[in-house]
Amino acid sequence: MKKAFGPLLVVVAVMFVVAPFLIANAPYESTMGLIQKIFYYHVPSWFAMYLAIAVCGAASAVYLFKGTPIADAYATAGAEVAVVFGLCGLVTGPLWGRVAWGVWWQWDVRLTTALLLELIFVAYLMVRRFGGPGAEKLAAATALFGTATAPFVYKSVDIWRTVHPQTTVIPTLKPSMGGPFAFSSLAFLLLSALLLTARVHLAKRQMMVDEMYLAYEDQS
């Protein structure tokens, strides 16, 4: 992954430069006009978040049951990247909603589930920070339980919101929108992978420094 970092960085940078042109040229959606184009950033942010959450959940399980230190590095990276992209999605969602439908928030099932997942992974970071020694394991349990509860959250919010007024429907994609959408999604996923790699690399360096401290202490 280290060797791929450089070329990947270039690819992602190019994609993000090209993307606005593709998006500008994509057709306008019939009812919402320009604001709908935020969708090219909003939905791919979720994809990026889900990738990071999957990495965090899997790495947490490995860390909890096997104790491999590198798994902990991947778990932290996954949680931090998930929180960042979650924030992107949670900011773009209400912006879109406000202009398109006049309300900042109306308990859309995907947004609500994402909000809860964001809370869970912010809690993950808080446990790591404030939990004292041995907090890595506690955080791993949080990530594991959080990932396990996601389908239940989605299902129960989905049924729950049939009680609330529905004002949003993800628009059906015209074929000519599909291209820019796939492109954006790929760009965001690659960016997510890139950030994960960078963060894991940082964690590995920190582990190396810790090992040097320990080796130094062993000598003296």
Partner: protein, 234 residues
């Protein structure tokens, strides 16, 4: 599965929290009949060693062997052979002395009836047996905790600072008990920073400082004088 062993061995055991080293490449062996003294200043890592020996923590590196088997392979059945008395005493203050002993006896799968009364006698608490432990003095709790730790006649007896807060007479009683246990075939591991009390009691001495094993040898007399230089201001 019936697990028993006559020696316990630490093989290159290390434990660290991030960059803080608690234990560094410790290799030790204690056998049936030994009273191994883990000596060292506060913060040296003695308690961490005891916790690892008790299977309450796993080492970051190396392994612990009971007999010749590593801890992981032995599973839950190993724990019936281990007894721990730590500083916190592990007694429920709301329950009486008798209830505490009965609970732990049953937890270890033992019939409490033939064991609890003799243990209360041995602790000198037969007349306070039904009083809540919260009303006991430190010395009384220590005696009760000692009995609790030994109810199931463990093979490996781990004591972490058992003399804290005890007067001379009580300390002597504990010391005699430890000698009796070792004579009966138990492996006794005693962690303490009090060299005077360890003097004449321990048969082997393992000196730990900053998580490292500084020396490991048969005990001889005059511990304080011998080890003061090694430990520093103890």
């Amino acid at each position: 599965m019936n697990v028993d062993f006559t020696s316990v061995q630490l093989v290159d055991v290390s434990r660290h929290f991030g960059r803080r080293r608690a234990l560094s490449h410790i290799s030790l062996r204690a056998s049936s009949g030994d009273i191994l003294g883990l000596l060292g200043p506060n913060g040296a890592g003695k308690s961490t060693l005891i916790t690892i020996l008790a299977t309450l923590a796993t080492p970051s590196g190396g392994e612990v062997r009971y007999g010749d088997q590593p801890a992981a392979r032995l599973g839950a059945a190993l724990r019936i052979r281990i007894g721990l008395l730590a500083h916190e005493l592990h007694l429920y203050p709301e329950l009486s002395a008798r209830q505490n002993l009965a609970f732990f006896a049953q937890l270890y799968g033992l019939d409490p009836r033939p064991i609890v009364e003799p243990a209360l006698e041995s602790a000198g608490l037969a007349d306070r047996a039904d009083d809540a432990v919260s009303g006991f003095s430190r010395g009384m709790r220590q005696r009760l905790a000692l009995e609790r730790a030994l109810l199931h006649r463990p093979r490996l007896v781990l004591f972490d600072e058992p003399f804290t807060g005890l007067d001379d007479r009580a300390s002597a009683v504990v010391a005699d008990r430890l000698r009796a246990l070792a004579a009966g075939g138990a492996i006794v591991v005693l962690a303490t920073h009090d060299l005077d009390l360890a003097d004449g009691l321990v048969t082997r001495v393992a000196l730990v400082r900053n998580g490292k094993l500084v020396s490991d040898e048969r005990a001889s007399s005059g511990l304080r004088a011998r080890y003061r230089a090694l430990i520093g201001a103890a």
